[in-house]
């Protein structure tokens, strides 16, 4: 998101639209990234239940991936996963290995 100048923003720090937290990408706060092993995953959806940021993408009852734009890397999904299908990988390591 391009940051705006002082003449372009509402005064007083007001936020004039409801529900705009969606536009604020909080994923860059992350130090550890959850990496899911698709083969191990049993689609029990426990990660989806526990994720405090609704960052587990589920379609037709199956886990399709993780919303890294919003995932802050808290690691709850990895802790709760009963089959250890989610591993927390240090973001810098992940990037070094040519990740996104």
């Amino acid at each position: 998101m391009k940051e705006k100048g002082w003449k372009e923003i509402p005064i007083g720090g007001l936020i004039l639209k409801a529900g705009n937290a969606e536009e604020y990408k909080t994923g860059d706060w992350r130090t550890f990234r959850p990496v899911r092993d698709e083969e191990k995953c049993t689609n029990c959806l426990i990660c989806w239940i526990y994720c405090p940021d609704s960052s587990i993408i589920v379609e037709d009852g199956k886990v399709k991936g993780i919303r890294y734009d919003y995932c802050k890397g808290c690691g709850i999904c990895a802790t709760e996963c009963p089959v250890e299908a989610i591993k927390m990988v240090e973001e810098s390591e992940f990037r070094k290995k040519g990740g996104e």
Binding site: I11, I15, L16, A18
Partner: protein, 393 residues
């Protein structure tokens, strides 16, 4: 027709707030502001106003309630003094940064400690960087006139800033003076209705006040506050002209008293300006061309106007009713001297700290200041840049 009455400063503030009839008044009593709120609460009890009066448990709550009310879309007012203002501190800044045009009466009193209930300007001067407009009043008439105008100035669309109207504790707050009141209807028509463009209670368009604002946008919001302050002088001028049509009394950013041909000019704020005027009358009889520049608006500080008036003088003395510990002099002095730095001709500007904790200043002492200015002009030498008046060594 308006009325001519005798009221104390506190009663005046209550009376004009009755006429303004704000939607919300939240206040906590503190000497010497107490009678303002006490009398206003009588108006509430007697049904003379439709104001929702919030009896809070502290000044911090008073300002918080005002912010909540103003954000909701109400016209909110409060009154305080010294330690009360200090207890509000955090919220005072928030009112300005949320751009809520709250009007606050500050009855100037010395800040503790040691504890003191009498007048000096240490309370409001301490809040000079809080983002509030500051208007100082010399007497009861000015309290009345300034508060009416303060509502319009703060609520102006280009401004949207809170306004402090101050007057000297006890000297003005507890002394009865003659003043002219306008008719209720005229005052109410003049202030009009407060219309918040972004009321918090608009459920059709929910908005957020006071969100977290970090390194990415906080700076931009501060820049907006600077901009709003820059708009204030012209708004004060316009509101003053409109008020003159209503009342016949003239108001500008400052008052000049016999400055036109003055060799020696004193700069002062508050009730002492009145004493200075008397000293000027007496000195003029002796043939000394003395003048006064009275600070009415201290925030924003009217730099250009002040230079215009002072630059023709031979010497200038600034009277400060507060000390700025560790600084070169009092707050008004620092502003005035800095303003004059850009002038081609170097002009001697000296500073006197006076009246701390309510100590009186006499006509003779003020004359002494003018005589010192004369000496400086004659010799070209400033013996002491910052001095005290009425202090025992």
């Amino acid at each position: 027709m308006g009325r001519i009455v005798g009221l104390t400063g506190d009663e005046t503030a209550a009376e004009v707030m009755r006429q303004i009839n704000p939607d919300v008044l939240a206040a906590y009593p503190i000497t010497p502001q107490t009678e303002t709120v006490q009398r206003f609460s009588e108006f509430v009890a007697d049904g003379k106003v439709s104001t929702e009066m919030v009896r809070v448990e502290s000044e911090q709550s008073a300002m918080s309630a005002c912010i909540g009310a103003a954000a909701a879309g109400a016209r909110a007012m409060t009154a305080t003094s010294a330690n009360g203002l200090a207890l509000m501190w955090e919220i005072v800044y928030i009112a300005a940064s949320c751009r809520l045009p709250i009007a606050m009466v500050v009855v100037n009193r010395a800040l503790s400690g040691p504890i003191n209930i009498h007048c000096d300007h240490s309370d409001s001067m301490g809040a000079r960087d809080s983002g509030w407009i500051q208007i100082y009043s010399e007497n009861c008439q000015e309290i009345y006139d300034n508060l009416i105008q303060a509502v319009r100035i703060g609520e102006n669309r280009e401004v949207l800033l809170p306004v402090m109207v101050t007057f000297d504790g006890f000297i003005i707050s507890h002394c009865t003076e003659r003043l002219e009141l306008l008719e209720d209807k005229k005052v109410r028509d003049f202030v009009g209705e407060y219309k918040n463009s972004y009321p918090l209670l608009n459920v059709d368009n929910p908005i957020t006040y006071g969100p977290l604002d970090l390194f990415d946008y906080y700076f931009e919001h501060k820049r907006q506050q600077i901009e709003a302050m820059e708009k204030v002088p012209q708004v004060i001028q316009r509101v003053g002209e409109e008020f003159e049509k209503l009342s016949g009394r003239t108001y500008s950013l400052m008052e000049e008293y016999k400055t036109e041909d003055a060799d020696f000019i004193l700069v002062a704020a508050g009730s002492t300006a009145g004493t200075v005027k008397t000293a000027i009358e007496e000195l003029r009889e002796e043939g000394i061309k003395a003048g006064l520049l009275k600070i009415r608006v201290f925030r924003p500080f009217p730099v250009a106007k002040i230079c215009q008036v002072l630059k023709k003088a031979k010497a200038v003395a600034v009277l400060d009713r507060s000390a700025s510990f560790g600084a070169q002099g009092g707050p008004i002095f620092l502003e005035v001297r800095s303003a004059l730095f850009g002038e081609e001709r170097k002009l001697p500007v000296i500073n006197y700290i006076y009246g701390l904790g309510g100590r009186d200043i006499s006509i003779e002492q003020i004359k002494g200041v003018y005589r010192n200015l004369q000496k400086i002009a004659d010799t070209g030498k400033v013996k002491k840049l910052v001095d005290c008046i009425g202090l025992r060594e």
